[in-house]
């Protein structure tokens, strides 16, 4: 007889392994235009367009929560700067929370500058770029694994949770930027927030952190 909890976990893991195969396969990507994405967003949001887009993933068995890295050039994580983004952090028992707030309403309403790294680890080639009004996604691939960079606008009261119940949240400082990292399911999730955008870099866990540093440091802006 199998215990129900074990059976459930095996069910989950068997499907997740199939999804992992898809994500790392050479199946062609399907590009979507802005109209398609807007159809989905209209379907999801209905009349309420006020809420911003934030990365908030819940970690369940076999599923990793996305990590957001708070990145400011001048201030520390709890410092306050007038007329700029204020980041408040709270450490709870099961999750770590970052709340974006500001005294002024200076957040962008669309992606004005796209940040793309000029450096990638050897063998990774640019695979796909998705540009939308509120987010961009760039994917590199070496035919076995993908590296993905997502950029979205932040807005007042953007709220990000890191599920720390099932994985260890690591903190690092890189060139004055504060990074929060999580390793899970063979991937490393690295995220940070600037005054205008939030970034999420997802790459295989076996990529050295020194390589990730080079990727982040090589980010260059392009007009959106």
């Amino acid at each position: 007889m199998i215990e129900k909890s074990i059976f459930k976990k095996a069910l989950l893991d068997s499907v997740l392994s199939k999804i992992h195969e898809i994500e790392n396969s050479d199946l062609p990507y399907v590009d979507t235009d802005e109209g398609y994405d807007n159809r989905i967003f209209d379907l999801i949001k209905g009349r309420n367009m006020a809420s911003g887009i934030s990365f908030r993933n819940r970690l369940k068995i076999g599923i990793i929560a996305a990590i957001l890295i708070c990145l400011t050039m001048i201030m520390s994580i709890t410092a306050i700067r007038s007329n700029s983004v204020k980041l408040l952090t709270n450490a709870h028992k099961e999750y770590f929370e970052i709340i974006v707030t500001s005294d002024s309403n200076t957040f962008p309403t669309n992606i004005e500058k796209i940040y793309i790294p000029s450096y990638m680890p050897e063998s990774y080639e640019l695979k796909a770029i998705t540009k939308r009004e509120l987010f961009t996604q760039v994917i590199w691939s070496n035919n076995s694994y993908n590296i993905r960079l997502q950029q979205t606008i932040v807005s007042k009261n953007t709220n990000i949770h890191f599920d720390t119940e099932h994985s260890k949240l690591e903190y690092a400082v890189l060139g004055g930027y504060e990074l929060y990292c999580v390793n899970a399911e063979g991937n490393r999730y690295v995220s940070w927030i600037t005054e205008e955008y939030s970034f999420l870099l997802v790459c295989p866990s076996d990529i050295e952190f020194s390589e990730i540093e080079k990727i982040i440091e090589s980010m260059e802006s392009q007009e959106g």
Binding site: M1, I2, E3, K4, I6, F7, K8, K9, A10, L11, L12, D13, S14, V15, L16, S17, K18, I19, E21, I22, E23, S25, L27, P28, Y29, V30, T32, Y36, R39, I40, F41, D42, L43, I44, K45, G46, R47, N48, A50, S51, I53, S54, F55, R56, N57, R58, K60, I63, A66, A128, F135, Q137, I139, Q150, T152
Partner: protein, 179 residues
């Protein structure tokens, strides 16, 4: 019809959750759909239909819907594709195994022996026909009702019950049942 669904999601939390789900998963969902349908436009329709059903689930059972994750989307996309195929080819139902090479069915007696019992269980589940494992996933992981499962896999409630029964029978035959 869309306007009906537009009024459904009034909760900002639900909006954020679903938007995040879309942004995080749309790439592999579209690739999966395209691999089944071999048509990008139909693949987009299939993924769109998945979110239509997901919005309905959010309206009906917000607590269950808040647990939606990758396995749910995987099952939903696959069955959305098969439903599209059935609609266009009414005289022929395409078998799940024919499209996907990701988990082919093996006879119970031919399961590879492994020392790790859990790995053996996982391999066995992966080798089951996906018509059975799909409903087991939606039932045991997401606690959906028979009718809710029927809406996702696009079959009748009776068929869902039959598939659940047969899926559990396969597990019981091999492992003696589920506690």
């Amino acid at each position: 019809m869309l306007s009906l669904y537009l009024s459904m999601l009034d909760e900002p939390e639900s909006n954020k959750r679903l938007t995040d789900i879309y942004l995080e998963n749309k790439a592999w969902m579209l690739r999966l759909a395209n691999s089944i349908l071999r048509n990008e436009e139909q693949a987009k329709d299939a993924v769109h239909n998945v979110f239509l059903e997901t919005v309905k689930l959010f309206r009906k059972s917000p607590k269950k819907a808040s647990e939606i994750s990758k396995p749910f989307l995987y099952v939903a996309v696959k069955n959305s594709c098969f439903s599209l195929v059935k609609d266009t080819q009414r005289t022929q139902v395409i078998s799940a195994d024919k499209f996907l090479n990701l988990g082919s069915y093996e006879n119970v007696e031919h399961i590879v022996e492994t020392r790790d019992a859990y790995k053996q269980l996982m391999n066995f589940i992966s080798s089951m026909p996906e018509i059975y494992s799909d409903v087991l996933v939606l039932k045991y992981i997401y606690y959906l009702s028979i009718n809710e499962i029927a809406a996702i896999v696009k079959v009748s409630s009776t068929t869902v019950r039959t598939r659940l029964k047969r899926g559990k029978k396969i597990i019981t035959k091999r492992f003696g049942g589920i506690l």
